[in-house]
């Protein structure tokens, strides 16, 4: 019904939207999501032809190209066959007319109904959107924001348009009003096509069938709404979801590094993307079908960085790790949870190459890891449990952090020193000469672990294996280290394999949790799923025994299984 082809909107030299292709059929709801400034509103306005910018391309509405219509023809369609609810409530309603009159106005103006019929229909609509009768004759300034929004929705639907464009319809409302209006909107759909422009993922997920993610004026990912939200494939989509406070995810909120910049050569997202390769900087990726969704990314979306296939490790007759299969995507944290002796550390040491696997294969970035050479260790680094052990007692802070650079033969001595000092700063340690010359026994446990983290990061690895990095630290220092790791993930797009016996820690830092028992992975699912709906009895037991402050008697599913 609505078909947009190669839409390009520009204000002067600034291109706001570029190369937009969209289809919307009747009865369908498409949500456009993205940060502010990505051009979402401009898209809605362009369809209505209300933007002052220069529009190029085709917008076919019911077989007619809206861009070729005269302003007169357009006026007949606008508010009649297509309507829009605007973002900024205050400017839209006329302050000198009562709300009932305003809702009835489009019907009268388009000559569809007589005045009395129009008023009847208007009250019906206002009632449907939950405005109480005694408010019908009120003036806009007498209404609350929620009530004004209800009026606007009623107004937009007055002429029963075939296309409804909702621009941030509910963003400024409180959650209770919001969920009420969402329900009303869901019921009032019928044959109508809807375009919901929002940065609110909750609204999008509740209203939309399909979801398009807009970044820098381009669509980067489009597909089934639930699918996209549950398994985001474009790095930007995932970043948006991670930054959105919600009850589904258990991991701490993370921002997106950097700010949106325009114009950009190549992929619009590449300055903030964490899996950039050369082509991303030079060539614009086109939307392409892959696995049931369209995605614009040279790397085909978020890549699988580490893939462990049926890896086993036995010591004599003991199978410490028994045919384990794991996958870690770029920028993702997988927590490996299990009690001591379950084979977590053995698995980590097998992946990093300190143990030779007895069977199975490890793939890194799609390439089979045959020998763990210097190249491999540039990409994969490990933080060990005991920082006092993992730092050599005869190396100063600076020497320790420089060691990987020396081994890898990176740069000149001066460059190595500069790089090491910079990394020491990144892990929030003092960069003073005095501190750099300290030896491990002069540092606290937290400082030592930070030095160890700096040492692991100095080669700019893509994957960090953290083996109980906070096991030897007290809770407040542990919290700081965890925050640091999350920030580093945001900044560097670091993937992490986080090993812990504490599922309470795992849920805070990880996207997915894999539960390990007796050398096997018994459950591997998104963290929220593991925490809320564990499938295995053992997982429930882990959850039940996880630290808790017992403020209230939790109706814990795990407790009855003990």
């Amino acid at each position: 019904m609505l078909e947009i082809r190669n839409l390009r909107v520009s204000y002067g030299h600034d291109t706001i939207l570029d190369g937009i292709d969209l289809e919307l059929s009747s009865g369908e709801t498409l949500a456009i999501i993205g940060e502010s400034g990505t051009g979402k509103t401009t898209l809605g306005m362009s369809i209505m032809r209300l933007t002052e910018g220069k529009i190029r391309g085709n917008i076919n509405f019911d077989g007619k190209d809206l861009l070729t219509l005269s302003e007169e023809e357009m006026r007949r369609i606008r508010w009649n066959r297509m309507a829009m609810v605007f973002q900024n409530v205050n400017n839209v309603l006329n302050p000198v007319h009562s709300v009932l009159e305003q809702v009835a106005e489009p019907m009268i103006e388009h000559g569809l109904k007589s005045k009395s019929e129009a008023h009847e229909r208007a009250s019906e609509l206002l009632e449907r959107f939950g405005l109480s009768q005694d408010r019908f004759s009120a003036y806009p300034h007498q209404l609350s924001g929620g009530e004004q929004q209800r009026v606007l929705l009623a107004m937009a639907l007055a002429n029963d348009p075939e296309l409804l464009i909702l621009d941030e319809p509910l963003s400024s409302l409180d959650v209770a009003t919001k969920s009420e209006l969402v329900n009303l909107l869901r019921m009032s759909n019928g044959r109508r096509a809807r375009l919901v422009v929002t940065h609110d993922l909750d609204t999008a997920s509740k209203l939309a069938d399909r979801l398009a993610v807009l970044y820098g004026g381009r669509i980067v990912e489009i597909g089934n709404a639930q699918d996209v939200l549950q398994y985001p494939r474009h790095p930007y989509t995932r970043a948006l979801i991670r930054a959105y406070p919600n009850m589904t995810m258990v991991k701490d909120l993370q921002g997106i590094k950097g700010r949106m910049t325009r114009p950009v050569n190549g992929c619009p997202f590449h300055p903030r993307c964490t899996q950039v390769i050369d082509i991303c900087r030079s060539k614009l990726p086109q939307l392409a079908w892959s696995h049931g969704r369209e995605i614009a990314c040279h790397r085909g979306g978020i890549i699988t960085l580490l893939s462990v296939e049926n890896v086993s490790k036995s010591f004599g007759r003991i199978n410490a790790v028994d045919s384990v299969t794991l996958r870690i995507k770029a920028g993702e944290t997988l927590a490996l949870v299990g009690q001591s002796g379950s084979g977590k550390t053995t698995l980590a040491k097998t992946i990093i190459g300190l143990y030779l696997p007895s069977g199975g294969t490890v793939y890194f970035d799609g390439v089979k890891v045959v020998t763990h050479g210097k190249d491999f260790y540039r990409k994969v680094q490990m933080i060990f449990q005991n920082p006092g052990e993992s730092l050599s007692h005869r190396l100063s802070v600076l020497e320790s952090v420089m060691e990987p650079l020396e081994i890898q033969g990176v740069g000149t001595k001066e460059e190595r020193i500069t790089k090491a000092i910079k990394t020491v700063g990144e892990v929030e340690l003092p960069q003073t000469e005095d501190f750099l010359q300290k030896y491990p026994h002069q540092l606290s446990g937290g400082e030592m672990q930070r030095v160890a983290i700096a040492r692991a990061l100095v080669l700019d690895p893509a994957l960090l294996i953290a083996d109980e990095p906070t096991a030897f630290l007290d809770a407040s220092v542990e919290a700081k280290i965890l925050k640091l790791l999350l920030n580093l993930q945001e900044e560097r797009g670091l993937s992490m394999l986080y090993i812990t016996h504490n599922i309470a820690v795992a849920r805070k830092v990880s996207d997915r949790i894999a539960v390990m028992l007796d050398g096997r992975i018994i459950e591997d699912a998104p963290s929220s799923e593991i925490v809320v709906a564990p499938k295995q009895t053992y997982t429930r037991r882990l959850l039940a025994s996880a630290p808790s402050l017992h403020w209230f008697e939790a109706d814990n599913a795990g407790q009855d299984s003990i």
Binding site: L354, G373, Y377, Q381, M382, S390, P404, I407, H441, R455
Partner: protein
């Protein structure tokens, strides 16, 4: 293990005594041309003289000055001792650490070789071989080195095996470090105290072996050595000359060995917590 070995040795009384003795011997050896006054090889017609103003310890059966022979003998002893100490230690490090790091079949073969060498009585082998090839000083040094690394290698291997599982060694591996890098930057520095003990032990043994071989008359007769002096002096034991010929050489040798023994004793007690004073208290 934070042990400042030098400090430990300086602060123990046997350590101090040992250092003093060794220092004295070294100084005398260095100053030999100055205070010796005679060329120790130079023969003269004035044989078997008793001590006098000219010859402090008299002369021997071919008219050489015994005092300067004693001084130059210290040079030989120390030269052989330290050379064998260093060379033997290098062999020990090479084979001990490589066994520990490489492991597997190589390790097993190396350790069986070490077992075999330890089982063979080294003194007998050295005497037999030396008697057969009549070695020069350098060949003697090489011979002693080749036959004296096995004990050290075993100790070093054992220590390196435990060191290589240390966190910082594993960490270094995860930066892509080679075995050589790990040995050089992580294992050898941590082994330093043990290496020092092994070294002093090697020196002591070599000093003793050199003197012993020379005493048996197997060494190079042209080399001035305490062992040769005792060997020669013994033939004239029916005369009074033993008092200024045999005894000074024997005392010098004994002192040197005792000095080295004191140092190794001090170093060993510093390394072994059970031997340390505070552990007893």
């Amino acid at each position: 293990m934070h042990i400042d070995l030098k400090k430990e040795i300086r602060e123990s009384s046997p350590g101090k005594a040992g250092m003093a003795i060794l220092l004295l011997v070294i100084v005398l050896a260095i100053l030999a041309p100055v205070i010796g006054r005679y060329d120790p090889i130079q023969q003269s017609t004035t044989t078997l003289l008793p001590p006098s103003q000219c010859h402090w310890l008299g002369t021997n059966h071919v008219g050489q000055d015994i005092w300067s022979q004693l001084l130059y003998g210290a040079r030989t002893s120390l030269f052989v001792g330290f050379s064998v100490g260093i060379l033997g230690l290098l062999f020990s490090i090479l084979f001990g650490i490589s066994s520990a790091l490489i492991g597997g079949l190589y390790d097993r073969v190396m350790m069986r070789i070490v077992d075999a060498l330890i089982a063979i009585p080294m003194v007998i082998v050295v005497i037999l071989v030396a008697a057969y090839i009549k070695p020069s000083l350098f060949i003697l040094i090489f011979l002693l080195s080749v036959l004296s690394w096995q004990g050290g290698a075993r100790v070093i291997r054992a220590q390196a095996l435990s060191l290589k599982e240390r966190g910082h060694v594993n960490a270094s591996r995860t930066f892509g470090a080679s075995q050589f890098y790990i040995a050089w930057h992580h294992i050898i520095p941590d082994l330093a105290p043990i290496l020092l003990v092994e070294f002093i032990y090697g020196v002591r043994r070599a000093v003793f072996m050199e003197a012993g071989l020379a005493f048996l008359g197997i060494g190079d007769p042209m080399v001035v050595s305490w062992g040769t002096m005792m060997h020669d002096a013994l033939r004239f034991s029916y005369l009074d000359v033993w008092r200024w010929w045999l005894v000074p050489a024997g005392v010098a040798l004994s002192l040197t060995i005792i000095g080295l023994a004191f140092i190794s004793h001090a170093a060993e007690s510093a390394l072994d917590p059970r031997l340390r004073d505070e552990a007893v208290a």
